[in-house]
């Protein structure tokens, strides 16, 4: 066979750009659109996450309405509406019609969405499966009108393709009452009760006890979660990177782009937790001329600087960039969801750091009530207030739970398994950067620093649970003590007399009174009392 050799020139004609939309269109499973069941949930989840983020940033107590309708159990129309600030008309095509566009990616701050992928991928999935345009309603205030934009996503250009624009009159039944955003899309999906939208919203309510959520499911049932607290959480601040978490390539870029003229200023301005003392110490240790402009650093100097940064002891990152649910709000939220629970406890860990990113772990345990006694406990995993619904076995929470010894806290556990008993365990991680194990954000990567904090928090909750259960136990025993003594003592004396063949009348009542009154009734084991028995039940 003659081989027709192709040249480098020929290949050059074949190569071209791939748009990020095309990439994710072909790889939609990477964004969580693996199958119709999951896809339905993902669209709801991305829209609700965006709504909660928008309300929280605008300091508005969120009021979210979710409706899912279907005629044929194949195509589902999803509508998610919030009372947030709305979106200015020009931004709508970008936010909903462009993958990798958003406000959170370049900041370090705690938020639900991060990568600017979620809601536009819903638009993409919708048009891919049903061909329909998505509808975005937005009103930015009561003085403006509701805009309605119908749009698709042009995957080759990674741009929105607006198919229709309307301004709704105040009387229109689709007009928004106040400021807010409503997202509507049609997707091919499948609805199921468990591990689906219902459970996701239930857990979202626990993670966001300040939100009001109204939900109408495809089968027509309504599920409403009212607010458990009436205050928004403290607004998390944006932070700068911490010196301990930066890589050489990033540092070089920062040096090149900084406006600071001196290296000491550079360190103080571009990083968090660096004051003049530590900045100067870094410069000193690096042995680089302190007058050298950051722009003139070459690779080797950058590397020296990086090593110096890691040698100097620098404070932890600031904590105001994190906003945990909080002990009170978390417990109130759980009480609402489990009104019959016998015992609820939560624990919030002090902030910790992994790879320069600050994070806080919160955990809670709900015990008793209507919870099934025999099953494995239920686990609710949250990251930046967002429920994680899939890959339960892979994440950090699973590792933390299965490597904790639950027996001592009163739950059943066989080997290193998920404990069982009438309990729910909640594990929440909030951070400026949550390390997910995939883009579809299904589980938190089990970094040792994170697993350790989760375990410490769980152990604290566990100790409280154990104490509660032991106290319950003890109270029951206490009442039986005196009873036993009064029951057996006269009988003991009676039989002993018979054994000794002594007929004298002996009144033991005074002795009994005496022992009880003096508090001499004991309840303790004696060393050596446990007699060794190799077998039992001989004939």
């Amino acid at each position: 066979m003659v081989q027709d050799k192709k040249t480098a020139e020929f290949f050059a004609t074949q190569q071209r750009d791939i748009s990020v939309s095309e990439f994710f269109e072909k790889n939609k499973h990477l964004l969580g659109f693996d199958n119709p069941t999951k896809a339905l949930l993902m669209v709801v989840k991305e829209a609700v996450d965006n709504s909660l983020d928008a309300c929280e940033e605008a300091r508005i107590l969120p009021d979210i309405k979710i409706k899912i309708k279907t005629k044929d159990n194949e195509v589902y129309t999803i509508s998610v509406e919030d009372n947030g600030p709305g979106i200015v008309k020009e931004q709508i095509p970008k936010i909903f019609g462009k993958l990798l566009y958003g406000s959170k990616f370049h900041k370090l701050s705690q938020s639900r969405g991060q990568q600017g992928l979620g809601i536009s991928s819903s638009v993409l999935y919708s048009q891919l499966t049903t061909g329909h345009a998505s509808r975005i309603y937005s009103r930015t205030g009561s003085s403006t009108k509701t805009h309605l934009i119908h749009m698709r996503l042009d995957t080759m250009k990674n741009e929105a393709e607006i198919t229709k624009e309307e301004i709704l009159s105040e009387g229109d039944r689709n007009s928004m009452k106040n400021s807010g955003t409503r997202f509507e899309a049609d997707v091919i999906g499948r609805y199921r009760k468990s591990q689906g939208v219902d459970e996701y919203l239930e857990q979202t309510a626990v993670a966001n006890p300040f939100a009001k959520i109204e939900y109408q499911s495809p089968d027509g049932t309504e599920l409403n979660f009212s607010r458990a607290v009436n205050e928004l959480p403290k607004e998390p601040k944006e932070m700068k990177p911490h010196p301990y978490g930066v890589e050489l390539g990033i540092l070089m870029r920062m040096l090149k782009n900084t406006k600071s003229r001196s290296i000491s200023n550079f360190l103080q301005n571009e990083f968090s937790s660096v004051g003049s003392t530590s900045a100067n110490e870094v410069v000193k240790i690096s042995k680089i001329d302190e007058k050298k402009s950051p722009h003139d650093f070459d690779r080797d100097e950058s590397e020296k600087l990086l090593k110096a940064m890691q040698k100097v002891k620098i404070q932890r990152p600031p904590l105001d960039c994190l906003s945990p649910i909080g002990k009170d709000a978390l417990e109130k939220g759980l009480k609402k969801l489990y009104p019959n629970a016998e015992f609820i406890v939560s624990h919030i860990r002090p902030p910790e750091v992994y790879r320069g990113n600050p994070f806080i772990i919160e955990t809670a345990i709900v015990y008793g009530g209507d919870l099934p006694k025999e099953d494995s406990i239920k686990i609710i995993r949250l990251a930046n207030r967002v429920p994680l619904m899939f890959q339960a076995g892979a994440g950090a929470a699973n590792e933390a739970i299965t490597t904790t010894a639950w027996k001592r806290y009163g739950l059943q556990q066989s080997g290193n398994g998920i404990p069982s008993g009438p309990a729910v365990i909640i594990v929440h991680m909030c951070s400026t950067w949550v390390p997910f194990i995939s883009e579809s954000k299904e589980a938190v990567a089990p970094y040792p620093e994170i697993v350790k904090e989760m375990k410490l928090a769980l152990q604290d909750c566990g100790r409280h649970l154990g104490m509660y259960l032991r106290k319950q136990q003890k109270a029951k025993q206490e009442t039986r003590r005196l009873h036993i003594f009064e029951d057996y003592f006269p009988l003991f004396i009676e039989i002993s007399k018979e054994l000794a063949e002594i007929k004298d009348k002996i009144d033991v009542r005074p002795l009994i009174e005496n022992v009880i009154n003096k508090g001499l009734v004991e309840d303790k084991e004696i060393p050596g009392e446990k007699q060794s028995r190799s077998s039992s039940g001989e004939d």
Binding site: L499, I502, I506, K530, Q531, R533, E538
Partner: protein, 352 residues
């Protein structure tokens, strides 16, 4: 039994009564050089009637003591531990035992307190085993009548039951006792007339010897001065059967000296026999090896050179055999060659 009297004494002194019970756990078991067996040490623990964890057990203990005192008085009835457990139901809710281990423990507490085996208070183990050979036994039948039976006049030997265990030895022509682990070999020796050839009483242990059988072996040895030879499988379990007859078990340290026959001797089958007679054999299990290693450091056998030598051989060959494996040489070999050689080596009386 002063258990009852001690209680009443303390009550009369207006004290909260207590009981001292010898500790039976391993930490209180010591080797008795005089009796050549494990016995309990001096440590005791004290139960107080003022401790609610003790009062019920103490009440049950005096009840069991009183119950067996009645049995002994009456003289014809015996109960097993299981029967005791069921009978306790007739004592009412407060005294009945919820689980048999509870009543068993109390029986053992009493044995330890009175330093006598429970047979002495008519609480008997399940009988097992039988005797064949020329010995006349005098026993009391269930109606209290004294009778005599010769163990040679029965078809397959006399069952060792509660009455046999307590029987008087009226008359015997036997010189020695051979105790045999398996029923199969026992029957073989009867059919090969071993009792005549060796002038022996043959005792069928039926596996691990029951307490009744150990007791009767001890009595035959002490009262009639008959030397005892134990013939077992060639494995650590067989050896264990022999050592329990000789020195008792740790579990029954509190009554060992009433049950064990320190001068009894182990015939085999030995590890060396496995090699010498090329016996059909199986691999030793891990458990067997562990047991052999324990026996190597057991104070009771440290000075027994023959036994120590055999243990070494065992570990070396790593195999075990059943006593019936000797049948590879046919029926008569065991009485014509094997046993004569063994008994001669052990200097049994009347063997050339």
């Amino acid at each position: 039994m002063n258990i009852g009297k001690d209680v009443v004494k303390e009550i009369k002194q207006n004290k909260v009564p207590h009981m001292n019970i010898p500790i039976r756990s391993t930490s209180n078991i010591v080797y008795d050089e005089k009796n050549l067996c494990y016995i309990l040490g001096n440590r005791e623990f004290s139960r107080s009637a003022g401790n609610i964890r003790h009062i019920k057990k103490m009440t049950q203990l005096v009840k069991v003591a009183d119950f067996s005192k009645q049995l002994v008085k009456e003289g014809t009835r015996h109960v097993t531990k299981r029967e005791l457990y069921y009978i306790s139901e007739s004592w009412g809710e407060k005294l009945k035992f919820d689980e048999q281990p509870e009543s068993d423990e109390i029986v053992e507490d009493i044995e330890a307190m009175i330093s006598e085996p429970r047979e002495a208070i008519n609480i008997i183990p399940n009988p097992k085993g039988s005797i064949y050979g020329d010995i006349a036994m005098r026993f009391k039948n269930p109606k209290g009548k004294m009778m005599t039976v010769n163990c040679l006049d029965t078809a397959d030997g006399q069952q060792i039951g509660p009455r046999m265990t307590e029987a008087e030895f009226a008359k015997t022509s036997a010189n020695i006792i051979i105790a045999i682990e398996t029923t199969g070999m026992y029957n073989r020796l009867i059919e090969e007339n071993a009792h005549e050839k060796f002038n022996a009483l043959l005792i069928n242990l039926g596996g691990q010897a029951s307490r009744s059988t150990r007791r009767i072996i001890k009595r035959l040895n002490e009262e009639l001065k008959l030397p005892v030879y134990i013939f077992c499988d060639a494995d650590p379990f067989g050896l264990h059967i022999a050592t329990v007859i000789i020195s008792g078990s740790a579990k029954s340290a509190h009554v060992n000296k009433h049950l064990c026959t320190p001068r009894a001797q182990w015939i085999g089958v030995t590890a060396t026999d496995i090699i010498e007679y090329k016996l059909r054999s199986d691999k030793l299990r891990d458990l067997d090896i562990k047991r052999i290693k324990e026996l190597q450091v057991d104070p009771r056998y440290e000075k027994d050179k023959r036994l120590q030598q055999e243990l070494k051989v065992w570990l070396k060959i790593g195999r075990k055999a059943e006593q019936q494996a000797i049948l590879r040489y046919g029926f008569e070999f065991v009485v014509d060659k094997y046993l004569p050689a063994k008994l001669k080596e052990l200097k049994a009386p009347g063997i050339r």
